[in-house]
């Protein structure tokens, strides 16, 4: 009898796979997604479904054009996750083509242009979000007041189709600013944060998600729940989320203490915008973040720092997407410099000195 000899060991393997990892991340996104579909109604569901399907179709198309096998890669969950995360970062009532163009950009330009899964330098969903934000600033910054399905203000099925596919969106009647956008606009009109924040959603509403904002970002609590699930399942480690959230919170708190009229406080920064989604689901993207824990800490601090700087000083009210992309560009450098110490060697790579030998 002869047996297979084709590779070195080990001849045992943990029950891990790319598909399992991606599926767990998608599962972790479910609570926040379901909540926000309920919160923003049918148009949000249409946009979400379209974005997701377009991501998968684009993936299939790219794989075919590249002459690569379709089935294993298409269903490994990575394209679905990109589409899903992109959808979560879009205004919930945005027209259909925002989702379609976004997904196409994410998969075709953000992922396959670099060589497909594992090769992209930048987070594809954030590439698409930033491309959309710069190209279509109007559609990308009209947010909706929460109008849960079945309650007053929630559009019916026909109206919803008109909103998503017909562009029937009554901007004046329904639009609302996100908390960050509101504070920034008021500040530019000379109204201090201490006054404007009174008209922004309450912190509790921000935490629960009962506030205007991007489709998937509003509920800090549910995103935290998903993030905790990923931590328990060891899909992500605490390093990036803790470093990013900690940095945003500390900077917000310190500068708020120095000048409360100019800077919102740390808790407001944490609970508004994409801070939580970014910390647990976007900055932790495997492909575009550092591989070593030391590097992940630095990366997380960098994302937090840039997020706060952009929110505080730049033209855009929200900075997570830009911060992530900028730090993505730093990842190769971080990976080069920050790595574990090799066993038996000093940090500089020299063998440890021999003590007590003859």
């Amino acid at each position: 009898m002869t047996v297979l000899i084709d590779k070195s060991g080990p001849y045992a393997h943990a029950p891990t796979s790319v598909q399992r990892t991606m599926t767990l991340v998608l599962a972790a996104l479910l609570p926040a997604t379901a909540f926000n579909i309920w919160l923003f109604g049918w148009p949000a569901l249409f946009l979400f479904a379209l974005t997701l399907v377009t991501a998968l179709l684009t993936e299939a198309l790219c794989l075919r054009l590249l002459g690569r096998p379709t089935s294993p890669t298409l269903w490994d969950g990575s394209a679905a996750l990109t589409g899903w995360l992109l959808a979560m970062s879009l205004p919930p009532w945005a027209p259909w083509w925002i989702g379609v163009v976004g997904s196409f950009v994410a998969i075709a330009f953000g992922k396959h242009m670099f060589g497909g899964i594992g090769q992209n330098v930048f987070n594809p969903a954030m590439v698409a979000r930033v491309a959309l934000l710069i190209s279509f600033p109007v559609q990308m910054t009209i947010f909706t007041r929460p109008a849960p399905i079945g309650q007053a203000g929630s559009p019916g099925l026909i109206d919803s189709l008109a909103i998503t596919f017909g562009g029937r969106f009554d901007v004046d009647a329904l639009s609302a600013a996100s908390a960050l956008g509101h504070v920034k606009t008021e500040l530019s009109r000379g109204i201090p944060v201490t006054d404007s924040i009174a008209k922004a959603p309450e912190l509790m509403d921000l935490a629960l998600g009962m506030a205007p904002g991007s489709f998937g970002e509003t509920s800090a609590v549910l995103i935290l729940l998903g993030g905790a699930f990923l931590l328990v399942k060891r899909i992500i480690s605490w390093h990036i989320p803790a470093a990013m959230l900690g940095t945003v919170f500390v900077l917000g708190t310190v500068f708020h203490a120095i000048d409360p009229g100019r800077y919102p406080d740390g808790l407001f920064h944490l609970l508004s915008g994409a801070t939580f989604l970014g910390a647990f689901f976007i900055a932790t993207d495997y492909v575009t973040s550092p591989v070593a824990k030391q590097g992940q800490l630095v990366y997380g601090v960098g994302v937090g720092l840039l997020t706060w700087i952009i929110r505080s000083y730049a033209g855009y009210p929200e900075g997570v997407a830009f911060a992530v992309l900028l730090m993505n560009a730093m990842t190769p450098l971080i990976d080069r410099g920050l790595r574990p110490r090799v066993f038996g060697r000093t940090r500089r790579g020299e063998p440890l000195p021999v003590k007590g030998g003859k």
Binding site: M1, V3, P10, G344, L352, G357
Partner: protein, 511 residues
């Protein structure tokens, strides 16, 4: 006792329950015994018997050659029927010089070295000599000649004997059973080795998943004087790796490219300790060992005391055969063991286990692209960045791989084990190590040739120079002689000339 932190590691599915409660059973006499001449690290042994000769149990049939080598002994009495090439228990499937013995069924012992009841009557050097003569090698799987390791006093300042009973590989239970069933013998060997090494401290490390072995060894240790501690270590692969175990227990980190002995610690396996005890107390050479036969494809997993040289196929048949076609047959554990080319290969000194693993157990899948999850970095016990090394090696950038530390990799397999993309990382690293070693060998060879050529050129130059100088000297001498001669001639001529001149003047005068 406080343990020191060791980074990384994984928690594989141990599956030790398949065989851990099976008491060891002796193997009945095999039909034929195949004794490869190289069952150890170092120079192969050299046969001292001839085909057709009758050998007795325990008789040396091949002698050690060189400083790092080990002799081979007959596991039973019988006739040497062949000394020739047979498939080695190695993934290459290459043939190796092997002595084949057909047992005569009498199991008749050869005269053995005299038993020593009091090892203190021997010198440490005597003990190392007897261990060498008994053909004992590291039975944990590394198969380095034990006597060499017992004789390190001259080279290193030693203070700790670390006895490795961690048995961190999944499936394997032979060390567990050994410690449970022969704790006294193991402890006796430990005492002898500590004496031979002249160390005062003995640490015996056993993973916490072997409570009975821990209890048995603790009990056995209590009967001895001196600083002997039995320590439970956390269950985490690769805890049994020599360097990592040393770090965990002593806080001493072995410098890169050095041995644990360089920092005062000698590590021996528990089975080696027992073999040492048998060699000293009974004069018995290493002719059998405990082997775990396990895996889901094996009908009845067992721990067996197997005569060395027994074919794996006989061993599997003894365990009720295979219940299904295995995906792999492994010698050793699933993490660091070697696949066997067939079951028609013998058990040798380093065979700790024979595993017949099913497809479900090996859970192999085609490799997918790396998603840079970084788990390999977290689990690497050596602090390496496997994802980066693999990227270098894929591009055949061996210099890059070397700079990123591939030669510090111990091939424990933790990275491959966890990789969600099922990338065979260790395969890459082993390939790179082999290539780098081959290149270095070539380079050394080239350097040697270059040195020789240069030395020759220098020598030739010297000779030529000497010749030239000799020639020049000769020429100079000749010239000097010529000059002298010329001068002499000139002088003579002058003298002669004076005379004619004088004569001429005389002539003139006369004219």
């Amino acid at each position: 006792m406080k343990l020191f932190r060791v980074r990384g590691g994984v928690h594989p599915d141990y599956r030790k329950e398949l065989s851990s409660e099976k008491a060891t059973v002796p193997f009945p006499l095999p039909q034929r015994l195949y004794m490869p001449l190289q069952q150890h690290i170092g120079a192969p042994a050299e046969p001292v018997v001839q085909v057709g000769e009758r050998v007795l149990k325990g008789q040396m049939i091949a002698r050690s050659t060189g400083a790092v080598s080990a002799p081979v002994h007959a596991p039973t009495s019988g006739i040497v029927v062949d000394i020739g090439n047979h498939t080695a228990p190695h993934p290459s499937g290459l043939p190796q010089r092997t002595i084949v013995i057909e047992p005569d069924g009498k199991d008749e012992w050869a005269p053995l070295p005299a038993p020593v009841a009091d090892h203190l009557s021997l010198t440490p050097a005597d003990i190392a000599k007897r261990v060498a003569e008994a053909g004992i090698v590291g039975l944990g799987g590394a198969t380095f000649p034990s006597a060499v390791k017992l004789d390190l006093r001259s080279r290193c300042r030693l203070d700790i004997l670390l006895v490795n009973g961690a048995e961190c590989e999944p499936y394997l239970t032979c060390d567990d059973r050994l410690m449970r069933e022969h704790a006294d013998e193991v402890m006796d060997g430990v005492r002898i080795m500590a004496y031979a090494l002249e160390v005062q401290t003995v640490l015996i490390a056993i993973e916490d998943n072997k409570p009975q072995a821990l209890a048995a060894m603790t009990k056995a240790a209590a009967t001895l004087d001196g600083d002997i501690r039995v320590i439970g270590v956390p269950v985490r692969y690769p805890m049994g790796s020599e360097r990592h175990l040393t770090l965990a227990l002593t806080g001493r980190e072995t410098p890169a490219r050095k041995l644990t002995a360089d920092i005062g610690v000698v590590v021996h396996n528990v089975a080696t300790a027992r073999a040492v005890s048998q060699a000293i107390r009974a004069g018995r050479p290493l002719i059998s060992r405990l082997v775990t036969v396990s895996g889901s494809a094996v009908a009845e997993p067992k721990n067996i005391e197997v005569p060395l040289g027994t074919h794996v196929s006989e061993l599997i048949a003894f365990c009720g055969g295979l219940t299904e076609e295995p995906r792999r047959i492994i010698s050793g554990g699933p993490m660091m063991g070697q696949p066997l080319p067939s079951t028609a290969v013998p058990v040798i000194k380093g065979t700790s286990g024979i595993l017949a693993l099913t497809e479900a157990e090996t859970n192999e899948r085609p490799a997918q692209p790396c998603i840079r999850c970084g788990t390999c970095v977290s689990v690497c016990p050596c602090g390496l960045v496997p994802v980066e090394m693999a990227a270098f090696i894929r591009k055949e950038n061996l210099e890059g791989a070397q700079a990123s530390g591939v030669l510090d990799c111990v091939s424990c397999g933790s990275c491959s084990y966890v990789c969600p993309s099922h990338i065979p990382l260790v395969h890459y690293f082993n390939y790179a190590k082999g290539r780098i070693n081959a290149l270095e060998r070539d380079k050394r060879k080239r350097d040697l040739v270059k040195r020789l050529v240069e030395a020759r050129a220098e020598r030739m130059e010297k000779i030529a120079k000497a010749k030239r100088e000799a020639l020049a000297a000769k020429k100079a001498a000749a010239e000097a002689a010529k000059a002298a001669k010329a001068a002499a001639e000139a002088a003579a001529k002058a003298a002669e000339g004076e005379q004619p001149a004088a004569a001429a003047s005389e002539d003139k005068a006369s004219a």
